[in-house]
């Protein structure tokens, strides 16, 4: 079967509730006769649904809300499909469109569930529609606007429309380049499943009217929160962000022809419209403040189907434009004596009404239609269909923990970030009954083994706990079953395929399901890439837990139940977080070997970096190349490490007042394992030092601020390149209340004199702009010298320039 994917206004009007065009009827009736063993979908509804004709009729009656006007016994109602809220309809719908639609809904939007209310008043159509339009606009809070968005994102919208799941119900809007399709190997004629599938028309609720109906702005608002307007969730919330909703709205309205002008409602027209609204009993479906629905008309129990809404001959009833199959289904539904629906039937109706079956397979119905298969994408291509096709729902009530099912249905939780198609949100008020229904249908009467009891049991046996913990870890790792090769683990990416994070297992799944699934994943997902490690129940891995299948699966469950505290199995790479300073200077505070606990790292795009120990007021390291790696793994509190070998300088206090030049420079207190308590906890505050912070200039270069005694110091370094070699230029600005001498310990190690102003150690050269430094031995370090500069500060401001040049060997 070959179907055109090209968008065509009239060829594929297969709305679940509305008109199925003649052509489609023909195709369908042809196809139905060619159905094989699979459930034959009743032709009044689209998709591979599980309903027979009477049930389909029930669903049509329920979805069309026959009982909004009619008396008589209703079919067991699903949460009713409410009409759109008219509260702000004037702001949402283009006025011109609104009037045309009211005048003749089926001509303007073929397939709409809105009945033609004016069939009995053909000559007044225009006048009534105009009045209603003015009334509806007048009662709206906001005005219609077609002001375009500043940013044009039609391409993004096109991409989103054809990937997040819109296609499942609306069909593709244009032929896109082919995405991933089913592996042709499986398309051979022996594959029963393949051969039997998709011999029916896929759903394609037309969006042909959309460009004229909405402005990009109003459509965007609707798409962002569709349940605001259509609370019954048949058009679900696709979890779009505002930006995404804007992009899709721009895409869908891109070919809008008409100018969309707001109108000022005319008072007398609006007053008439209000009368019509009441007279036509619009309020039976559309709530309107201050109005109440009329009394029910004729009971459907005794209805003569040759007359009334279902009859084309009728001249005084609303017209629904149902096709023959739909009419027949409704007729059978009305005729059949009603017995209460079984859970099975309620579920079948639900999954059809909400079109779960467009994406999900359950038992022998539903699933992604082959025509739409190319629009289901994944960022993890190697996961195959598991990565891109929404999971089957067969037995889902026994698979998922009840609370997790609620989180998926109502809280938007999902664990498959690679799957581009999203699980829509249908509104809790609409599906509140579903989790319990699924649990009743799918949960085994007797639970073989309760997952949390199993964990408790293992926990209470110290030996077994130890053994299972180790075994579970080993089984998951690359020396065991290598689960972590294709599953993310504990927020860490898998090295090969980034399948769903298995640490979520025990919070999502029920143990019995997990146990059976692990033994034979293929039974649950025919083409899964998930291998079986216990084929026919026999463990492939013989040494762990003696190859005992039960014990191994229990051990994995137990290990995963440890949640985020589970240690990494072997085979997971620890990724370091690198911070770069590519565009502009970066400042990062954190502890570091090269700068102490109150460390500050500063990086420059020129690929030279320095570290400052703010505890002592000392430039303590310089390195070339990349900036820093930061440890945010485990308990890591963001300690930084230079990304390249650093020139380490002493970290003792840099500035102080020396009584005379014989006084030894006070060194930082040290602690050891044996004497861990800081012996001089006030150092170097007791020497007058106090850090005061830093500020950034427009290039994000920090100026560090600190104080030494009464002297305020501002310390700014920046990178320069001289003959392709990076240097650090440092300016020290002093502000002193009176003239005084401040000593600066500029350098230490094996300090050599290069010139009057230039000094060097083995790996660093330092140029000082002014002053007469002294070099003296360091008392407690044999062979080491220190460069001390007495700075004679005047009252007020003064500066000192320093240049640091790394010496490359």
């Amino acid at each position: 079967m070959r179907l055109s994917l090209r968008f065509d206004l009239f060829s594929r009007r297969a709305s679940i509730l509305g008109v199925v065009g003649r052509l489609v009827c023909l195709v369908l009736s042809y196809l139905i006769t060619h159905q094989a063993a699979a459930q034959a979908p009743d032709p009044s509804l689209f998709g591979k649904h599980p309903l027979n004709q009477a049930q389909a009729g029930d669903l049509l009656r329920s979805e069309l809300r026959c009982t909004a006007c009619h008396g008589g016994s209703a079919p067991e109602m699903l949460p009713p499909k409410t009409a759109p809220s008219l509260e702000d309809v004037g702001a949402r719908i283009t006025p011109g469109y609104l009037q045309r639609f009211l005048e003749s809904p089926h001509a303007v939007q073929p397939g709409t569930t809105m009945p033609d209310m004016l069939a009995s008043r053909p000559t007044e159509r225009k006048e009534i529609a105009e009045g209603l339009t003015h009334f509806l606009i007048e009662q709206s809070k906001n005005d219609f606007t077609s002001q375009p968005f500043a940013k044009q994102e039609i391409d993004k919208g096109r991409m989103l429309f054809h990937s997040v799941g819109c296609v499942a119900c609306h069909g593709p809007q244009e032929q896109l380049e082919a995405g991933p399709t089913r592996d042709p190997r499986y398309a051979d004629e022996d594959d029963d499943e393949y051969f039997q599938r998709d011999r029916f028309q896929p759903p394609a609720i037309s969006l042909g009217h959309v460009p004229e109906k909405y402005s990009a702005r109003s459509l965007s608002e609707f798409l962002f929160q569709p349940l605001h307007v259509r609370s019954s969730g048949r058009m679900p919330d696709m979890k779009l962000t505002r930006d995404e909703a804007q992009a899709i709205a721009q895409y869908l309205t891109r070919e809008s022809q008409q100018t969309k002008a707001a109108i000022v409602p005319d008072k007398s027209l609006a007053a008439k419209g209000k009368q019509y609204f009441q007279e036509l009993n619009c309020v039976a479906c559309h709530a309107m403040e201050g109005m109440s629905p009329a009394n029910p008309v004729l009971s459907l129990d005794q209805a003569d189907l040759t007359r009334g809404c279902l009859s084309k001959a009728s001249s005084n009833s609303p017209q629904f434009h149902l096709n023959e199959a739909q009419q027949a289904a409704v007729a059978v539904s009305l005729k059949e004596r009603k017995v209460a629906d079984t859970d099975q039937v309620v579920l079948a109706k639900t999954m059809t009404a909400f079109n779960c079956i467009a994406c999900h397979k359950r038992d022998d119905f539903g699933g992604v239609h082959q025509n739409y298969d190319p629009y289901f994408h994944s960022s993890e291509k190697n996961l195959g269909d598991d990565g891109r096709i929404p999971p089957p729902l067969t037995g889902v009530g026994g698979k998922l923990q009840p609370i997790w099912l609620r989180k998926v249905l109502f809280d938007g939780e999902s664990v498959r970030p690679y799957m581009e198609t999203r699980m829509p949100q249908y509104g809790k008020q609409n599906l509140a009954f579903l989790p319990d229904l699924l649990a009743r249908l799918d949960s085994p009467e007797k639970i073989e083994q309760d997952g949390s009891k199993l964990v408790e049991e293992i926990n209470s046996d110290r030996e077994r706990e130890k053994q299972y913990r180790a075994a579970g870890r080993e089984l998951l790792g690359d020396k065991g079953l290598s689960c972590v090769t294709c599953h993310n683990f504990n927020g860490k990416a898998a090295p090969v395929n980034k399948g769903l994070d298995i640490i979520t297992t025990t919070q999502r799944l029920q143990y019995d399901w997990f146990n059976h699934y692990l033994r034979n994943p293929g039974a649950y997902r025919p083409r899964t890439v998930m291998p079986s490690a216990w084929p026919n129940g026999v463990a492939a891995h013989k040494t762990i837990l003696n190859g005992d299948t039960d014990a191994q699966i229990q051990a994995i469950w137990y290990f995963l139940s440890l949640g985020r505290s589970a240690p990494d199995p072997s085979g997971i790479r620890q990724e370091k977080t690198m911070i770069t300073a590519d565009d502009q200077a970066k400042t990062y505070r954190g502890r570091s070997r090269v700068a102490g606990f109150r460390g500050i790292a500063v990086g420059f795009p020129e690929k030279i970096n320095y570290a400052f120990n703010a505890q002592t007021g000392t430039l303590s390291a310089i390195w070339q190349g990349d900036f820093i790696n930061v440890n945010w793994g485990g308990q890591g509190a963001g300690d930084f490490h230079p990304a390249a070998r650093a020139i380490q300088l002493d970290q003792d206090v840099s500035f102080m007042r020396l009584a005379d030049d014989n006084m030894p420079w006070p060194r930082m207190p040290t602690t050891s394992k044996e004497t861990p308590v800081n012996p001089d906890p006030l150092y170097p505050k007791n020497l007058g030092y106090q850090f005061r912070g830093y500020y950034m200039d427009d290039a994000s270069i920090p100026t560090l601020m600190y104080r030494s005694g009464s002297v305020k110091i501002e310390d700014r370094s920046y990178a320069v390149e001289v003959e392709d070699r990076p240097q650090l230029k440092r300016t020290l600005k002093f502000d002193s209340p009176q003239p005084q001498t401040l000593w600066f310990r500029a350098l230490s190690g094996d300090v050599q004199i290069e010139s009057e102003k230039k000094f060097r150690t083995n790996d660093l050269a330092l140029t000082i702009s002014a002053g007469k430094p002294i070099i003296r031995p360091i008392a407690e370090q044999r062979g080491k010298t220190e460069l001390l500069l007495p700075i004679k500060l005047p009252q007020g401001e003064s500066t000192l320039e320093l240049i640091y040049e790394p010496i490359n060997h």
Binding site: G491, R589, G638, D639
Partner: protein, 502 residues
Amino acid sequence: MNRSITKPITIACLVAVAVCFAESVTFAEDVGDRWGTEEREREYYPIVNLPIPKDLVIEAGAFAQLPDGRMAVGTRHGDIYLISGIDAAKPNPKYQLFASGLDEIFGLLWVGDGFRVTQSCELTYVRDTNGDGKADRFETISDAWGYENYHEYAFGSELDAKGNQYIALGLSASYYSNALNRGFIMKVSPDGKSTAFASGLRSPGGIGLDEHGALFYVESQGPWNCSCSLKAVPFQSFHGHPASFNWYEFNSELGPTPLAPEPGTLIADEKKRIKQLVPYAVIFPYIRMGRSVTDFAVDKTGGKFGPFEGQMFLGDYTLSIVMRATTEEVNGVWQGACYPFREGLSTGILDVEFSPEGNLICGGTNRGWPVRGIKPFALERIQWSGKMPFEIKRITIEPDGFLVTFTKPVEKGTGEAAGSYTISAFTHPYRGAYGGPEIAQHACEVKSVELVDDGLSARVHVDKLEEGFVYSFDLAKLRSRDKEELLHRDAYYTVNEIPAAQ
């Protein structure tokens, strides 16, 4: 509901081996049972995920409300984001990076035209002075403490009525006090002067003011603390862990060094001997009520968040839950009760804060320590659905029992029956070992109950009350007038003082 309690496994091993720059290895462990109330809680207090863009890591450590209606979050990575749209029905928040490169933010407060940021190294005033939306000035307000071990976290309070801010300083590796003032609470006055205010902390999780404006901090279970607790902080008070005695000699304002506590005693006895020792105001029985309680927020939403106005809401890191607490001052000593509130958050909660619309914003991470929630980090919003839960609202002490108030009227039959009020009591030993058992457990006989006519409160008269005991309430048998069971049947009142009869 399964009410068995998993045997506590101490997390001592997690932290004991931590040394200066090296982190400890994380060991696996089960984190403990659930309350089993999550499905029912959803009806009253749904949790809404606040989506975080894919490329951002937001391990929330502190929240702040901004004057313009936005909220700010400070993270463990040292970033500050300004978030708009946090209260939208369908949240699609915008994150604006305001500052980065700070060191583990556990205190965030908007004052004047900038943030007072408590980071591990210091209290910093962070401002945007050129109006480009990014911070450019980071001024040190206080760094009056040593910082020599990665586990030396610092938590900042809000400002008190006089404009003082309080910084709670955790111990070195959570066991020792090797660096200046570790284990102290410092007071930073409006002029920037820092003075020592209290001692004896172990591993604080948060600090702030309660509904009465009194200063409290949250302590974690461990040595000298058998359970996590809320502790009231008067000036010069000592909070049980003696490691910080090292620094009294450097802080004369704190008065004389307290006497060393005797292990294996009871707080109720030791407080008579050690005059600075303040008994723990609200004990959170270990695992039943959290395993590492973190920061709290006080409900000042004027009813937007439901019936708990004025109460404290506290997060727990390990169990990914939020609890409630109430406090009262009896004979000059603070005490009070804690109550289960909401479980099933997605990550380890490090801070909670109310949003402008009166929702409770919760955030954190599960990196590094055992956590029940499965997300590496998350921001979530707990909101009141508007439906009134049937809950124990507040328990206060009476001379011969307790006054229990409820959120909905209790029906007469069960409400007046003494048998509906199962109360038991225990105390903890006061000792230096890690954690500790519940000892001297006994049933507390309820002699009579008076249900007030409106059904909203009950006076419970008991046989005997003892100082230093935690009274556990199990009110499972109560029914509201519309035949509902309590959403949470348990509550725990810590008795430090018993009021005299009038």
